[in-house]
Subunit: 439 residues, 2 copies
């Protein structure tokens, strides 16, 4: 009888996050002040982020960062998440590959996002902040932040991408259930939003527009900090709890992954799973194929340029050294709202440039085909974002079948799709299409 | 540092279900043929149910029933579910009580229902059945059955209560994602449905009407069996996996519950949690307060009569000895669709009559107040059904506070409410009301 699920005991939970920047041979290039083109200091970043997050963002020295006790206590409510061997999916594919997934969909609020929402709110609270604000696409991050803010007694204002708000109305309700204020972006409530709407009255919004609005609110509101659900290095740092657990759990299963796969929006769920394993590639030369699955309609990893660009549409953020499609790129209205972002985080961009990982592009229809197969075999309806990781996994598993190779594949099930049923409905009705971006 | 979560290793999972009928001093009265008033045999029941389920239904001899290996293998994908100590809720209430909950919301499809859907489909498959049909209220049972049917290669047709379908459209989408056919009940596709609509064109449907339609489909379709998500004794039997796990997990926590609480529709999540603990009350005289939380608008336990009644609106089922509001009782349109049922299962009815347990009535607004507090403290948005268990738990925890008693309360979080966000929206908007039934 084969074991299907691997879960760590509470006392085996990692007590530190892994900061890959300390081990990288080529460090990420600095963030620049757009006016002066000078590198930004932690003090500069602390104008918009919690000071501790700003410090973590630029830390290229310490490979291990202690998880604060109060954060660890909250992690214990739901972590470790299960590592699951997907026997039913393997059987349906007829592949000799061993497929494992890390199940972040059973977290509070249904995705990996809570792993960073908790520490970000914790640091804000510690530093005397009373209000937090953010952007959200599909709403996974906004929901997680709303919950974390509530538990730490912080007020929370969320700018949700307008098209996602229409596609997934329940996610706004979830945020309101946790007491957050939710505004569709672009909105008329900020200078940035007004400018975007004036230029394009039908702008569906994107993570880029919502970031502009949230940053503006943070910088114009007393005692308010901006928080981010992906892209930034400190967010990926918090998410390494996923990979650190997975490493121990894979050892319980007696295997080590040949391939590690995650979907890719800004990079936090990818980095969270991949970085702890990539450490062994960097330090010990371990051979692992790291695959970031992005939507074919928003292909910054495979078709973007590595250059300095803004993180938001309005140009409020620092200049980030990253693979980007340009900060004014308007992603198609795919249902994977969390992947509708023009750029990649600075760490991942450097690692991609240095050949440690690769991107693959998944068309929307292939992603839902994969999600349907996964649901019907494993019983979990995956988030449209996670469907991209599953699609990439299926591609690799079928290659293994062709070649008769018994490879070990580990992917991140970053969230469930229960709030995305309109997307599945559209797919079942034959209403979804693929998009080819104009670049 | 206090442990928050208790999870069983795969090899500690229970391998048998517990059949409380064997230990009950007063056995449940027999099911009767409505025409002859003669007790029904397993053969009679096997006309609509899988033969093995029919056998389990009437088994008053064997206290322990082996879980088939193939069912156990599927349980292992998600079981044990976590037992969680709700420290944050305790703190918010300022109660000395120790509150634990069994978290069935992280199951595939988000509720306890899958625990019985898997064995029912397994037995059908074993017996050469090709089609299954059922009723569903909120849609939790229909979703679980759709998934289980798909994994065993069975066709699945679901009659969903019309009002629930309108309140929770995503649940129909979920069922369709798993390939099921979903029809709103009452419908024009059955004799029973036509009769109900003719008598009352605006009938919102109820579990009673949907059962009539599903039973009719099962009896008029070749090679098709009817399955049920609650009420019947074999369903509660399968759900005892919850309580059997919880018993081991409470031992890990070093405690034994003084109170056991679950919401109550037909009785399966209540019985599933309570019966394994009640065994110690029956056999060893252990004192535990068993509380079934029903909606004040559908109060069969506290205001129903113990008598023979039909399980469905049209009168297609056997006559069941149960606490009932009458099979033509039309429950108010509360959002806890899974609790909108006129009767209680035969085992629970006998246990209630014999004083082993008690019912409490929870008004709709109190249930959502409780759900909101639970969400904001524990980070899980509970199903409207489960909110009733939480409300009853809060009542008891506040009594403990008043009296300074450190009691141990265990409740069942039977499912999450992510598909029920319209209900939370209505609550937040102040649109929900309490209902007092006319009896």
């Amino acid at each position: 009888m084969k074991q299907k699920r691997f879960i760590l005991a509470e006392n085996e939970l990692p007590r530190q996050w892994y900061n890959i920047q300390a081990d990288m041979k080529n460090k990420p290039l600095p963030l620049l002040n757009p006016a002066t083109k000078e590198p930004l200091s932690a003090e500069d970043l602390a104008h918009i982020f919690a000071a501790e997050c700003a410090k973590q963002e630029l830390d290229q020295e310490h490979a291990w960062i202690d998880i604060p006790e109060e954060v660890l206590e909250r992690y214990k409510y739901y972590r470790s998440t299960p590592l699951v061997r997907a026997y039913a999916l393997e059987e349906a594919l007829g592949t000799p590959a061993h497929i494992y997934f890390k199940n972040e969909s059973v977290n509070p609020l249904g995705s990996h996002k809570v792993n960073s929402a908790i520490p970000q709110c914790y640091y804000c609270k510690q530093e005397g902040v009373t209000n937090v604000t953010t952007e959200t696409g599909a709403g996974q991050w906004g929901a997680a932040l709303s919950y974390a803010a509530k538990t730490f007694g912080l007020e929370c204002a969320v700018y949700q991408v307008k098209i996602s708000m229409q596609q997934k109305p329940y996610r706004s309700s979830i945020m309101r259930t946790f007491g957050a204020t939710v505004t569709g972006s672009p909105s008329m409530s900020t200078r940035a939003g007004k400018d975007i709407i004036t230029a394009d009255p039908n702008h569906p919004g994107s993570l880029g527009t919502a970031i502009s609005e949230a940053v503006e609110l943070a910088t114009t509101t007393p005692n308010c900090k901006y928080t981010l659900g992906s892209v930034m290095s400190h967010v990926s740092l918090h998410q390494t709890i996923i990979g650190l657990e997975a490493e121990k759990q894979m050892a319980m299963a007696g295997e080590y992954p040949d391939m590690i796969i995650a979907c890719f929006g800004g990079g936090s769920n990818f980095g969270g799973l991949a970085f702890p394993f990539m450490r062994h590639t960097i330090l010990e030369g371990k051979k692992t194929d790291f695959i970031a699955a992005e939507p074919a309609s928003c292909p910054k990893l495979t078709k973007g340029k590595f250059e300095y660009d803004f993180g938001d549409t309005a140009g409020y953020t620092p200049l980030l050294p990253m693979y980007t499609l340009g900060h004014t790129f308007k992603p198609a209205n795919i249902h994977a709202g969390g992947l509708r972002y023009h750029g990649a985080g600075t760490i991942v961009s450097q690692l991609l440039k240095d050949g440690y990982m690769r991107g693959v592009d998944i068309p929307q229809l292939e992603s839902f085909d994969a999600g349907m197969l996964f649901a019907r075999t494993e019983g979990i309806i995956p988030a449209p974002e996670s469907c991209h990781a599953i699609a990439a996994t299926i591609r690799e598993a079928l290659k293994c079948k062709e070649k008769g190779e018994e490879k070990v594949i580990l992917f991140n099930l970053s969230g469930h799709g229960l709030i995305d049923m309109t997307a599945y409905d559209s797919f079942l009705n034959g209403d979804l299409v693929n998009y080819t971006p104009e670049l």
